[in-house]
Amino acid sequence: MWTWFHKLSSPKWFYQISGRWLPWIACAAVLFLTAGLIMALAYAPADYQQGNSFRIMYIHVPSAILAQSCYMMMAVAGGIVLIWRIKLAEMALKCIAPFGASITFLALVTGGIWGYPTWGTWWVWDARGTSMLILLFLYFGVIALQSAISTASGAARAGSLLALVGLVNIPIIKYSVEWWNTLHQPATFKLTEKPSMPVEMWSPLLVMVIAFYLVFGVVLILRLRNEILEREHKTNWVRKLIETPIESSTTSVEKTSATKRGA
């Protein structure tokens, strides 16, 4: 178990193995995404109240779920950084944060797009939306702190601590926002209040959630591989990797050729 852990945490090993995984995960992501979209747009029936506008839910809900689990994963990576000082976790932390912020932003935007035709307003200060907004702030904090520190490992360690402090705070924030919400809002707005969703409605949602996680996996691996090449560019194996292919001018070409050889 322990040796496996260490092996997995070696950037070189991860680079090689992830090259092998990547095509499969990417294929699966495309598959699920296409299937999910077709199901969401064609298979799921229109809502009897909201008509077709509810279909944005199939983007909104998965991104909201992913936004929260991204923060969780970032904090877990942070814990690994602080306890075991594993370089790969440092890189993961750096890669997850911007993705998490973007997906949180997506959740907020799709929430607005959903809200406008439904309630006639782009933004309501409801508990879920506000929690999402605060989550976005938390992401911004981690990103800003990391980019302010010049050394990569220092940035990762500071970001890790902040991510962990944020993680401890998230339940408290959620609780406080719900408290605040019940005081100030008559409970008329409830975003995903669906007492009984028929199976044609929730099954596309399930597929989309899986698709989003797969997309996250693909993006994370791609970013990590880039980060590994950048951080390890002085090591022998990266040098060999970069020098062997024919004169390539862009990094993306280098990367794809490297992927092929890994596979």
Partner: protein, 216 residues
């Protein structure tokens, strides 16, 4: 340790006065910017005073470890045999006492100017008393993380402000409840619980953050 901190504070009275004046000015902006109507002001008095106190406190946090970092005291602190978390706690408490406590004392005067209902004073005072130490303790983590950075000020606000939201929410709701003549014990209990949690955990996180910062 406490003696030294107080002595340094006493030699620089501006460090105590500036946040206080800032607090006063921010509060004054609200009637000027929104409306001087007493009925309206009495509605927003509690939250406005809280937000102004929060901002004043946060601005002063930036200097919590900065001077010690610049003159090498921080290094001496980190290599001293006494537990670092303990010394961090002492620093945060003295900082709270010299910078925040005057703000709390000034708050009733501002509440008077904003026509806070008489029922709200007790809640305002108690929430400030229970809530601001938590803010100092959590803010100390942020101050420690940003201590070695140039222009850490805005960054510090950015990373710690979201963490202060629960305290603001419960404090404002306690004052609102008090204004309406309702009980606000639950809010106070929650604030006290958060303070306790911060007292137990924050000094260690801050000590750890200082070690990270000195490594950069």
């Amino acid at each position: 340790m406490i003696g030294r901190e107080l002595l340094i504070a006493a030699r620089y009275p501006a460090e105590i006065l500036n946040p206080l004046v800032f607090f006063l000015m921010v509060v004054a902006l609200f009637p000027l910017g929104i409306s001087p109507e007493p009925e309206f002001l009495s509605l927003i008095a509690g939250p406005v005073i809280w937000i102004a106190a929060l901002l004043a406190l946060m601005l002063s946090l930036d200097s919590l470890f900065k001077n010690d970092f610049d003159d090498g005291s921080l290094e001496q602190l980190l290599i001293s045999p006494s537990p670092i978390a303990m010394m961090v706690l002492v620093k945060v408490i003295t900082h709270w006492f010299t910078t925040v406590f005057p703000i709390i004392l000034l708050a009733p005067v501002l509440a008077l100017m904003l026509h806070l209902p008489a029922e709200g004073y007790g809640a305002l005072f108690l929430t400030l008393l229970l809530g601001t130490p938590t803010i100092s303790l959590i803010g100390g983590i942020g101050a420690a993380l940003t201590v070695g950075l140039h222009r850490g000020g805005v960054l510090l606000s950015l990373i710690v402000l979201p963490l202060f939201i629960p305290i603001l929410v419960f404090s404002a709701s306690a004052i609102e409840a008090a204004n309406m003549g309702m009980l606000y014990n639950p809010q106070l209990a929650i604030l006290a619980a958060m303070l306790l949690l911060a007292l137990l955990a924050a000094p260690f996180a801050t000590a750890f953050a200082l070690k990270i910062s000195i490594n950069n």
